[in-house]
């Protein structure tokens, strides 16, 4: 099992290199990408099963033991994240091949996408704060290329702010790393966890807040979210989908990991996180109400949903963390599915603006169905996965008597439902007020090419599967939450010498 741990990182990276070599033959590139991402999905499932059995699967590169060597760890949280992210990466790759837009025109799409996959896996696997930085950079460098692929003026404009904001966050990250190393002499997270406890409380608080800011920028927390709704919608459809589903959630993962493992969850941190979470939820959902473009509405909803995950973390109880983890699993799948449907609508109707699209429920009923499932789930309607995720969080909030936050999260849920209804009424019912700028493409009996529909249906089915197997996933999340609140288990697993 241990030897499997580096593979989710190695396979896509090697595949990316191969993919550059065979750049002239698009079909070979496609086979390589699909094969690599499928293999990663399989290995991730195996790793999750292994991690759930033993608690931790630890790989020490080159046999060097932990604070010296590079250590990769799969625990329940990382395993769950790996499985969901590789499923989504595979589905979006199938969608991109089906769409044959930038994927067909550009040689670099496949290699860069695979590097992005490597960066995402590496972020989940690493047990070393500096390697987390490298993994983030890998993922971000790939995302810079993907967000500006095509080089249209609006993409260059929004790409610029995206790159500069991410760079500022990365520079802050290096600064925090330098200060952490100066005060503790290590960058291994398990080792840091032990040594940070010996530091003065004030210095620890400063580090905790600095890391929250660094990852908060990447996750889109209030008040650091402003770059997100501007940059995401300009990228090509599948790219927006993978960014919306995965990238911010890698930031949330890093927040959960660092705040639980490195710091001892003081009370004031819980308050800070809950206040930030509530503001993030509210601002995100209010921002969405004012929008007319389907992509921008959904982009604001990403921010709002991030608030729920941080709320679960801020409670610092097993139930709260379990709810947050379950919410992330549900959200990655549902959000990606919604953006994939938006891409289909954009293609079918020539626009994604509510005022320029209408009546799709008659002309493309399959798209309406594919939208309805994840949209109802996002809004938290029973029996979909979003209801279960919100229920778990609200339950945990009530148990921790965090009444205001629970009340606001329920109100935000209603406003989310309002937004989804607005999209439904604008896009699927009603008539367009204006003519779209581009010509609609009305080929295909299902409302789009089979690859695009298939990939979207796969994710919609996965979101239903999350609610069908909710018991199983929630149990794993609960065990993961218990692990997170007992960081000494992680420290022991990483620092024990090779048997």
């Amino acid at each position: 099992m241990r030897s499997l741990v580096p593979l989710p990182l190695a396979i896509p990276l090697i595949a990316a290199a191969l993919s550059i070599l065979v750049g002239r033959w698009r079909n070979v590139q496609r086979i390589i990408s699909i094969a690599a991402l499928t293999a990663v999905l399989g290995i991730s499932v195996a790793l999750l099963v292994g991690a759930d059995d033993d608690g931790f699967v630890v790989h020490r590169s080159g046999g060097w033991s932990a604070p010296l060597g590079i250590t990769l760890v799969v625990d329940r949280l990382a395993g769950l994240m790996l499985v969901v992210s590789s499923l989504v990466l595979l589905a979006v790759m199938i969608y991109a091949i089906g769409q044959a837009g930038q994927e067909r025109q550009r040689v670099v799409f496949h290699p860069v996408y695979l590097v992005l996959a490597t960066g995402v896996s590496a972020s989940f696997l690493t047990a070393d704060l500096f390697n987390l930085f490298v993994a983030f950079e890998m993922m971000l460098a790939a995302s810079y290329v993907l967000i500006t692929i095509g080089g249209r003026p609006d993409q260059v404009r929004s790409g610029m702010s995206y790159v500069v904001i991410s760079l500022v966050a990365s520079t802050l990250f290096i600064t925090v790393l330098a200060l952490l190393y100066a005060s503790t002499g290590t960058v291994n997270m398990a080792d840091l966890s032990v040594r940070l406890a010996e530091l003065d409380g004030g210095i620890r608080a400063a580090f905790a807040l600095a890391l929250l800011v660094v990852f908060g920028i990447k996750a889109g927390l209030f008040p650091l979210f402003f770059w997100l709704p501007d940059s995401y919608p300009t990228a090509p459809g599948p790219v927006t989908a993978i960014f919306a589903g995965l990238l911010t959630k890698v930031g949330v993962y890093a927040i959960i990991r660092t705040q639980t493992l490195l710091f001892d969850a003081p009370d004031w941190m819980g308050t800070v996180l809950i206040v930030v979470a509530v503001l993030t939820m509210t601002i995100g959902v209010l921002g969405a109400i004012a929008q007319d473009d389907m992509k921008r509405i959904l982009a604001f909803h990403i921010i709002s949903q991030i608030g729920y995950m941080i709320f679960g973390l801020g409670l610092f109880t097993v139930a709260g963390l379990a709810g947050a983890i379950f919410y992330i699993v549900h959200h990655i799948i549902v959000k990606t599915a919604l953006f994939l449907v938006t891409g289909l609508v954009d293609r079918r109707a020539g626009s994604s603006r509510l005022s320029e699209v209408g009546g799709l429920v008659r002309s493309a009923p399959v798209l309406a169905l594919l939208f309805a499932v994840p949209a109802l789930s996002l809004a938290g309607i029973p029996p979909f996965s979003g209801f279960l995720a919100k229920f778990a969080l609200v339950d945990a909030g009530i148990a921790a008597s965090s009444w205001y936050a629970v009340g606001i999260s329920l109100a935000v849920g209603l406003l989310t439902l309002y937004s989804m209804t607005k999209i439904w009424a604008g896009v699927f019912w009603g008539e367009p007020d204006q003519q779209p700028v581009r010509e609609p493409q009305t080929d295909g009996a299902l409302g789009g090419p089979i690859g695009m529909i298939g990939a979207t249906a796969l994710l919609a089915a996965a979101s239903i599967a999350v609610s069908v197997f909710a018991g199983l996933i929630y149990d794993i999340s609960e065990r993961a939450g218990a692990d997170l609140l007992a960081p000494e288990r992680y420290v022991e697993a990483v620092l024990e010498s090779e048997k």
Partner: protein, 145 residues
């Protein structure tokens, strides 16, 4: 010596942050570069006082400088270099497209500007929109710093 480097790092951060606030992309890129230098310098300084080589064969441990921050800084420098190259390419592309490297207002700002323009028109019937309001949204930024 450490104080000097710490002060230098602070100066780089200050200049970098100021340049980052500018509206021209070329200045932003230089600002990002300065910020990166400041952070890397801090990373090197975190290994203790400088002036000693990282590894000397056979000499006692106290003669070494800590090699780890140096390795980390090298990695960070390479990453900063790559991203700066990408930003420069992006700036060039922006110059190709618009003939300028000024960063435009975002979509939201332009929507609000358009809304305000419409609003002013309806509230004051004798208000002449052509006199003050630009006809093309893209040209709104011309007179801004």
């Amino acid at each position: 010596m450490t104080i000097l480097i710490a002060a230098l790092s602070g100066l780089l951060f200050a200049c970098g942050s100021w340049l980052l606030m500018q509206r021209r992309l070329s200045r932003i890129i230089i600002g990002v570069g300065l910020l990166g230098h400041g952070a890397n310098l801090l990373l090197i300084t975190s290994g203790g006082t400088g002036g000693r080589p990282p590894i000397i064969d056979g000499s006692p441990l106290s003669d070494y400088a800590d090699p780890l921050p140096q390795a980390l800084a090298l990695t960070a420098i390479v990453i900063t270099f790559g991203i700066t190259a990408f930003l420069l390419a992006l700036g060039y592309r922006s110059w190709q497209l618009t003939g300028d490297d000024q960063v435009e207002d975002d979509v939201e700002d332009r929507m609000i500007e358009r809304w305000e323009a419409d609003h002013a028109e309806s509230e004051h019937p004798d208000f002449d929109p052509d006199a003050e309001l630009p006809s093309d949204l893209a040209s709104n930024q011309a007179d801004q710093p």
